[in-house]
């Protein structure tokens, strides 16, 4: 379909939202699982089982962090094995979806 279809690689996109104060634990886990890349957005707000987290509220100072990680299926498999037992503890949200990574031609 695209001009150079062979340049797409099927990947898994993992998207995690957790309380910002737990971010370091998560990143540590990632590095232990030897992931080769992730992206972090901090100072996110939201609403979940622990109530509202308003990023503009400078009294309570509650933030979420959004983490996006793209990897192949094997790595995702490995990662989720490590991640899943901790998910309840971490709270927030963990998604997985399919995507194509555009690779260097």
């Amino acid at each position: 379909m695209f001009s150079t279809p062979e340049s797409f690689v099927s990947m898994k996109r993992i998207e995690i939202v957790i309380h910002e104060e737990r971010l370091n634990d998560l990143i540590q886990l990632f590095h232990e699982a030897e992931v080769y890349g992730y992206t972090i957005i901090k100072k996110a707000g939201g609403f979940g089982s622990t109530g509202e987290r308003d990023q503009d509220d400078f009294i309570l100072e509650q933030y979420n962090a959004v983490l996006v990680l793209v990897c192949d299926k094997n790595q995702a498999d490995k990662l989720l094995t490590v991640l899943q037992p901790k998910i309840k503890d971490f709270g927030g949200m963990c998604l997985i979806s399919d995507c194509q990574r555009v690779s260097v031609p």
């Binding site: 109530g51 400078f58 009294i59 309570l60 100072e61 509650q62």
Partner: protein, 330 residues
């Protein structure tokens, strides 16, 4: 005391902030500005307190410390009993709210200082020492009350333990408290000429910076105030009665036990009457996640804080005057 003594810039800027919120103005201060001014004010208060401490009589300073600890531990327990007994508030919310009333509001305290300065009344150095001390016990007693409540209601207790220890440490490593104590320590050891170099930044321009802080807090108070319907009549009443009760304790202690001047008594009353919105709310959010923040924030920021700033301070001052005139009428 005339109406003009209320026309203190700090109080007026607080009112301006509330007014901006009331007319739904789009006025908004950057959150980092708030954080920066808080850092600045805490250091300024600490340095000033330390300087005073260095020159203070140790016996008198110790009395002030004891009084501060008594307020910090005592007021939350009384608040908890009232909230549980009279208000039938659930234990965890009661614990979270109570903790706020043991602590103090640096903003209210500084407004009182500005008020006294505006009418030319002097005061002792000790209340600022009390201010620095009262934040920690309040957080600790909040944790204890929460632990007690959980045991009563049969909540988790194992996870609790680790949490408890973690939070007790927190009560001392808390950034605001550390800044306050650290600056106090620094203020008490630096030499006069060294202090002189940093005085323009931390003292000379302090009252002006406080105005901007209070304008911001006025907006915040206005925002919280608008939620007071969801909080219920009892709690709003508590948010006014509790500072009055605290002030009464403060007046008593300041006059009879500590023997301060009118200005000093007023400040002790303000300390006992005010409740925290800097260190305690985030600590309670972490320690008692089950409690509804809109309860304690509406009370502390939306009810008690504006009440103290606009009505309380002059009232406590009048009471201090009366006390002084009645019991030392010579």
């Amino acid at each position: 005391m005339s109406i003009s003594s209320l026309l203190v810039p700090a109080i007026l800027f607080f009112a301006l902030g509330m007014f901006a919120c009331l007319i739904k103005s789009d006025l908004k201060f950057p959150p980092d500005m708030h954080r920066m001014i808080v850092i600045y004010l805490l250091i300024g208060i600490g340095l000033h307190g330390g300087k005073e401490l260095a020159a203070a009589d140790m016996g008198d300073a110790l009395s002030a410390v004891w009084a501060a600890l008594a307020f910090g531990f005592g007021l939350p327990i009384i608040a908890y009993i009232v909230l549980r007994g009279l208000g039938k508030i659930d234990p965890l919310n009661a614990a979270a709210i109570s903790a706020h009333y043991g602590s103090v509001s640096a903003g209210t305290y500084m407004t009182a200082v500005a008020f006294l300065a505006g009418i030319g009344v002097t005061y002792e150095a000790y209340p600022i020492i009390m201010l620095a001390i009262m934040e920690s016990p309040a957080i600790m007693i909040g944790l204890v009350l929460a632990g007690y409540s959980r045991r009563v209601t049969g909540g988790e207790s194992k996870a609790d333990k680790g949490m408890m220890k973690h939070l007790l440490i927190d009560a001392f490593t808390n950034g605001s408290i550390l800044l306050l104590f650290g600056s106090m320590a620094i203020g008490s050891v630096v030499s006069e000429p060294s202090y002189h170099k940093i005085e323009p930044f931390f003292e000379l321009i302090f009252m002006g910076a406080l105005c901007i802080f209070l304008c911001d807090m006025g907006m915040e108070a206005g925002k919280r105030l608008s939620e007071f319907k969801s909080v219920g009549v009892f709690l709003v009443g508590f948010g006014i009665a509790m500072p009055l009760f605290g002030a009464a304790c403060g007046l008593f202690v300041g006059h009879f036990l500590l023997g301060y001047s009118i200005g000093g008594i007023t400040l002790v009353a303000v300390l006992a009457a005010s409740c925290s919105y800097i260190a305690v709310p985030p600590a309670m959010r972490l320690a008692i996640p089950e409690a509804n923040p809109s309860f304690y924030l509406t009370l502390s920021l939306g009810v008690t804080f504006p009440f103290n700033v606009v009505v309380g301070i002059p009232m406590y001052y009048s009471a201090a005057q009366y006390l002084h005139a009645t019991y030392y009428p010579w």
